[in-house]
């Protein structure tokens, strides 16, 4: 009988693999997601029915928990604005890690009751799962709070934070070793608390444009916690599913780091915010004046342009300005103006964030230019509209070694004939640094909510025919 169930698990595992492969190609992504979800459903049903000797089953509790969790998950995913997608993924990820942490805790209590705790392999596995799960849990929660703007980088970053983190890591290991040598509810509770604090401290110094990398990293950490929990139950699909996520998450993290021309170590050590604050303080002065402009003037400029590139950023997402971008695109395309979109790999709060938003309003895929394509086209572009992007168009990344984003490839929009920057105010971007682009001769600033200003341009340009 149990062979049948093992086979169902195998089928689920194959579905995970096919699902992940599907997800890595635009043509099959949706089917891939469905396939993975099917594999998950199969794994859940199999686990519910798997024959266990003398088990009380507690199906009432299980069904109750399944229904509550499914309702919350479904509701929050249906309700969320596309803008806050990164936060939501971060929260979901934290819950997965938290689940592994709690499981490790209760399995430890089981082990205590059975009296077979001493220095067993199970105990080691439990403590490792606890550690990894706790770090993923609290780290993701802090990442959520940071992305949501509820916690600012400077509030949680301490001086010499890298050293603090290293000390914390050592304390963590020490506490875990202590819990291994002297297993008790007390020692485990202390270990749990220390691990949770370490997770917070680990994410604290990481900020700015590095946030997507952290989410991806934490995602892979959650996968690892699921896999080690799989060893506790000697369950193959948990091991395989968890490790697939752990490995693919690691690769994805490295890909993202490459897009920013930084190493993973560099991101984790978190030089970003530390130097960022200093650069902001120093860079705010002596930049000259900016040239403000009005929607009507931009409309006239656009009317006589032949090639326009829009560079969207997080500001566009916040203002929900993508629908007006599409409207403007339609009008300009009718006037035979070429319209493209320059997509920086880390624009927004997540890689691919902008692609999702633009796809939402049916902007066709072949109008989206990646970093290199966009930069090679900028020289013969008449107008660049920077809609809510900031750090990804900052020239300091190329010419100011003291800048915290120095070395990051950026969209060199200043090579175009004219740049219009849509911005709410002169406040620095997410990285907290000043942008010399705003003070260049061929840059004009269009202040206000991007949704309103873009709509204003659309209205004006309609009257120009």
């Amino acid at each position: 009988m149990s062979v049948f169930f093992q086979f169902a698990y195998l089928l689920g595992a194959v579905a995970f693999i096919l699902g992940l492969r599907g997800l890595s190609d635009p043509k099959t992504a949706r089917k891939g997601n469905m396939t993975a979800a099917f594999g998950m459903g199969l794994a859940i049903v199999t686990s519910l029915l798997y024959p266990l000797d003398n088990s009380p089953d507690n199906y009432i509790w299980i069904i109750g928990a399944l229904l509550i969790g499914a309702a919350i998950g479904w509701w929050s995913s249906a309700k969320v604005e596309m803008t806050s997608m990164p936060q939501l993924v971060s929260i979901f990820n934290g819950l997965g890690g938290g689940s592994a942490m709690l499981l490790a805790f209760v399995e430890f209590m089981n082990l205590l009751q059975s009296g077979s705790t001493h220095k067993s392999l199970s105990l080691l596995t439990i403590l490792f799962t606890l550690f990894v799960g706790a770090v993923s849990f609290s780290g993701s929660i802090l990442a959520y709070l940071k992305l949501d703007g509820k916690v600012k980088d400077k509030h949680v970053t301490l001086p010499q934070h890298q050293i603090i983190n290293m000390v914390f890591m050592v304390v963590c290991i020490a506490v875990l070793v202590y819990a291994f040598m002297n297993p008790s509810i007390m020692s485990l509770s202390i270990a749990t608390v220390v691990c949770v604090i370490y997770g917070i401290s680990f994410v604290a110094p990481i900020g700015g444009a590095d946030m997507p990398v952290v989410i991806s990293l934490l995602n892979s950490v959650t996968g690892i916690s699921a896999a080690t929990a799989g060893f506790l139950y000697n369950n193959q699909i948990m091991i395989l599913g968890g490790i697939l996520v752990g490995a693919s998450g690691t690769i994805l993290t490295v890909l993202m780091c490459k897009a920013m021309n930084r190493s993973l170590v560099n991101v984790i050590v978190g030089g970003f915010t530390a130097t960022g604050a200093a650069a902001a303080a120093g860079g705010a002065t002596d930049q000259g004046d900016v040239q403000p402009t009005q929607p009507i003037d931009v409309a006239i400029l656009l009317n006589y342009a032949s090639k326009v590139i829009m560079v969207p950023g997080y500001g566009m997402a916040v203002a929900q300005a993508q629908k007006y971008a599409k409207e403007l695109d339609n009008i300009l395309s009718k006037k035979d103006v070429e319209v493209y979109y320059g997509i920086h790999p880390v624009a927004g709060r997540m890689p691919g964030h902008m692609n999702v938003l633009l796809a939402e309003v049916d902007i066709s895929y072949d109008k989206l230019l990646d970093l290199d394509d966009c930069n090679s086209q900028l020289n013969d572009t008449d107008i660049v509209l920077v809609v809510g992007a900031n750090d990804v168009v900052n020239p300091s990344a190329l010419d100011d070694p003291s800048s915290s984003i120095y070395g990051m490839p950026v969209l060199e929009v200043w090579n175009a004939k004219q740049v219009i920057v849509f911005k709410r105010s002169m406040k620095p971007g997410y990285a907290g640094i000043q942008n010399p682009l705003f003070f260049k001769d061929n840059t004009k600033m269009l202040f206000g909510d991007a949704s309103k200003t873009l709509k204003g341009i659309v209205d004006e340009i309609k009257t120009l025919d």
Partner: protein, 93 residues
């Protein structure tokens, strides 16, 4: 020991699967993979099924662990599907 083999092979498999992904899919991929990491749910099912029915503490903690994992799974797959449904219409140019 077989599980260790599985672990090592799964690492290679994971690396191979994701080596070439267009950046447009980074977010959905991350979110889809995130949903898969909710597989820890299977552990909570086995824990609850074999937990002593009179041990309320274990049942409550186990149920909370389960709710968290289910949110991760259902929310993860649903939100990924929502993102991907936006890519559905292909340009006809």
């Amino acid at each position: 020991m077989l599980s260790i083999y599985l672990l090592v092979f799964a690492i290679f498999l994971g690396f191979e699967l994701i080596s070439k992904v267009p950046s447009v899919l980074h977010t959905p991929l991350m979110s889809g993979a995130n949903a898969i990491s909710g597989i820890v749910l299977v552990g909570s099912i086995f824990f609850l099924r074999s937990a002593d029915s009179s041990d309320i503490v274990a049942l409550v903690i186990g149920s909370i662990a389960m709710i968290m994992a289910v949110i991760n799974i259902v929310g993860g797959f649903a939100v990924t599907n929502r993102m991907l449904s936006m890519f559905k219409k292909k340009p006809k140019s």
